[in-house]
Symmetry: C3
Subunit: 343 residues, 3 copies
């Protein structure tokens, strides 16, 4: 059960109400009282769990969960007594129910005394601004934003409604949509890495673009997104970016891209929609990565990738070719070891 | 000699006193006055150096150090006049003596005027809280903690005695033991990277776990540790984590693990005790890495690793297999080059 | 055109004046009025563009730019009407003109009310110190420095003239030259990763060195540079370091090194002058990397590299050998695939 020091339960609710509010179909006792969520092997009679992968077949059979989000076609796998919430995406149902039972706490609203808001900044209704935050001239903060302690909003920056700026984050030279969630320590809008190499001292190229972040984007802790050099750096709607990611100047991400921790995307590279990058992936500059591309963790991408491809390796190649490469290499090393033994 | 602007010497001490307080056995003139520490090739008559590797045999023979921490069996390698401090771990002796001669400055104590401490937070005796720090409702700070400037302690967070929270660090949803050292810019307890992919917009999975950090852990600058999704993220006692490391939700580290800079550990992976990871290692999610495993820098681990193994490569394999792989690859490339020349 | 919310134009200027001030030779109508800069394919009659690579031959022929920075030998490639600024380094000319047209805004000067400056700190004339900044005892800040909001300057730290310390950055145990630019979230001078492994608890080795940063260095957002363990960590004049880079204790960089995002340099490694590292490169500890070495992105360097070499791969080898390795591996995997089909 979530630690009550950190999470506040809003339930319990009846299983029927949770089904209705999460868009699932109910089978079983709709009056059952559900107060929490848990994994199949940890859930009790007041919890909802979910089942969506054959790997967990034994766990679902043995679960003590009071309710289970499950596909209708899997109903026979669940224990008899459990209430079932049918949907095509049980994990989604689980997430929606969890959000109903443990809603994110609303910021308490109000502007702390010890903030530094320029007289020309515009602050929307219902914003929470924590102590030590700095909001500079001509910034525009939409309604209902949360600006964490000691965060910094630069001159002229625009934030849409419902954004969260984490503790200690900083933003400059940026236009940001609605419901964008910047985690603590995020750095948005600083100079891109632009210079002309010169033996007498590399010469700075003024970085005259912006960062444009569309609605519903998540940016993980301590991630950095540099502003464009002339064009903008653009993060498309609904992208999810994890912690400690570096996004260089003029990079463009389409809609719904997923970027795991410690990835780096070098300058002027363009990603289509719904590109998914595993952790620690590097993409070189000036490349085009098509929509739907998936990139295995740790890969180094040095060429364009066509839409829909899955790639892996360093340098990255189509994933099956990479698997053949690693298999060949293992075999070759084994042969060398055997030969060494025979000598 | 350490720059007195930054370090305050507490000595000199007699060699005999340093030997006693560091648990070493003395040989030679115990009255010799030792004021500092240095490497063999830089040490003078008032310095302690140490010798523990045959590679430095020439250096120890020529050193000007007034005292040397050394194994008794190596005593003949040292110059005649030097005072010797015998121990089974001369580097350890050196570290202990250095800490005696240059003790970490005690925070001056006291709570700055410009801090933001909620009325319900409990602050132990002897804490130092620097300007701009924010401590939220129901937080509990143990005795003798140091909370750096502009750091943020979230609602309900628990810190044991003697912790240090670096400048600008942020902590939420966490229960932290004693003598934990969080370096500047550390991010603890933010949401894990949890969502259900959805073409209409990925759906957040509420992250309802915590971060639990046991006693004596070090967490390097700008490192991020996400809270669990339901289970906790757990860092075992005495782990040392370097800078810019990313630790995902539900990860569990055992006792005394060593994680070098820029490593990433993906969600729900478990490490045993005393696992050692070189720099920039990536470990995929949902894996089990046994106790005592060592992982070469830059490796990408995509399978479970049995206790005691040493692995390397991308994807990682037993270290000897990796060495054979790279040797085979070098040989193959050389043959190809030769063939190209003959044509 | 740069967004006027974020950038303030100082022009327009005549082409003749821009040529003179950037050290270029003029051909064409020197009275033409130039107000901005843009890429060849985006520039209009009041913009300067530049041409320096045959790849953009078609773009320069078709450009609408009013002025073009170009080598004299390429003059025939430009459209007839354009004013030309000849130089041996057109990108450099472009950068200098851009800096004339869009000069970096001068900090407004003055020390905010809500700063925390110790009485013993010395602050040079013309410094700007934003709210929430903390400057500790005996720190010395040169003339004309900018200290961003909520930044922290440690006891005794020295900053030369004209430095910028980004929002939320922290510095301790460091001596920093003139015109050094630390981006937001930078961490300078914290303890290096130094300990003696011990099953009862790893033992801290006191880190008694400093960070020394020479003139004109750039350090990217959220990058970390640890102080030395006894020797110093040294960053040579004019180095450019990108975001999220980790530099370990005792590392020494020569003059003008270029370090791209997410690189890690392990302890006690020395780089010569003008070493260039692509993104996500790792260099193991205690190595020597010669002057002029270039390292391909994603490489893992585990051996010394002689001056002037270009290396790549994991582990890194001379770049041509790496290319042969990857070609051999691709070929071998293809043969394996063909063989599998025939069976």
């Amino acid at each position: 059960m979530p630690d009550p020091r950190f999470f506040t339960a809003s339930g319990p609710f009846s299983a029927a109400e949770l089904a209705e509010r999460s868009g699932a179909n109910l089978a079983g006792d709709g009056t059952r009282s559900i107060a929490g969520v848990a994994a199949l092997d940890a859930a009790g009679p007041a919890d909802l769990a979910f089942f969506d992968h054959p790997r967990y077949r034994a766990q679902v059979a043995a679960t003590g969960a009071g309710a289970i989000a499950i596909r209708a076609k899997h109903r026979e796998l669940a224990p008899k007594g459990a209430v079932l919430l049918f949907s095509n995406n049980p994990h989604r149902t689980f997430a929606l129910v969890a959000a109903l039972l443990y809603p994110e706490p609303r910021p308490e609203g109000g502007v702390a005394a010890a903030v530094h808001v320029d007289a020309t900044a515009r602050i929307g209704a219902g914003c929470t601004i924590e102590p030590g935050a700095v909001i500079r001239a001509h910034a525009e903060i939409g309604k209902g934003c949360f600006i964490g302690a000691n965060a910094s909003i630069g001159r002229g920056v625009v934030l849409g409604e419902g954004c969260r700026v984490g503790v200690g984050a900083s933003i400059s030279h940026a236009v940001i949509g609605a419901n964008v969630n910047l985690y603590p320590g995020v750095r948005i809008g600083q100079d891109g890495f632009g210079f002309v190499p010169d033996a007498k001292g590399h010469i700075r190229v003024p970085q005259l673009g912006r960062v444009v972040i569309h609605d519903g984007v998540e940016v993980g802790a301590n991630t950095t997104i540099d502003r464009g050099s002339g064009p903008d750096t653009v993060i498309g709607p609904g992208c999810w970016i994890d912690n400690l990611v570096h996004i260089g100047h003029n990079v463009r991400l389409g809609r719904g891209c997923i970027v795991a921790g410690l990835c780096g995307i070098a300058g002027s590279t363009t990603l289509g929609d719904f590109v998914a990058m595993g952790g620690q992936v590097g993409i070189a500059g000036h490349l085009t990565i098509g929509s739907g591309v998936q990139i295995a963790g740790g890969s180094g991408v040095i060429r364009d990738v066509l839409p829909g491809q899955t790639v892996g390796g360093y340098p990255a190649v189509p994933i099956r070719a990479w698997h053949r490469q690693t298999a060949s290499l293992r075999k070759m090393a084994r042969l060398a070891a055997d030969a060494a033994k025979e000598e």
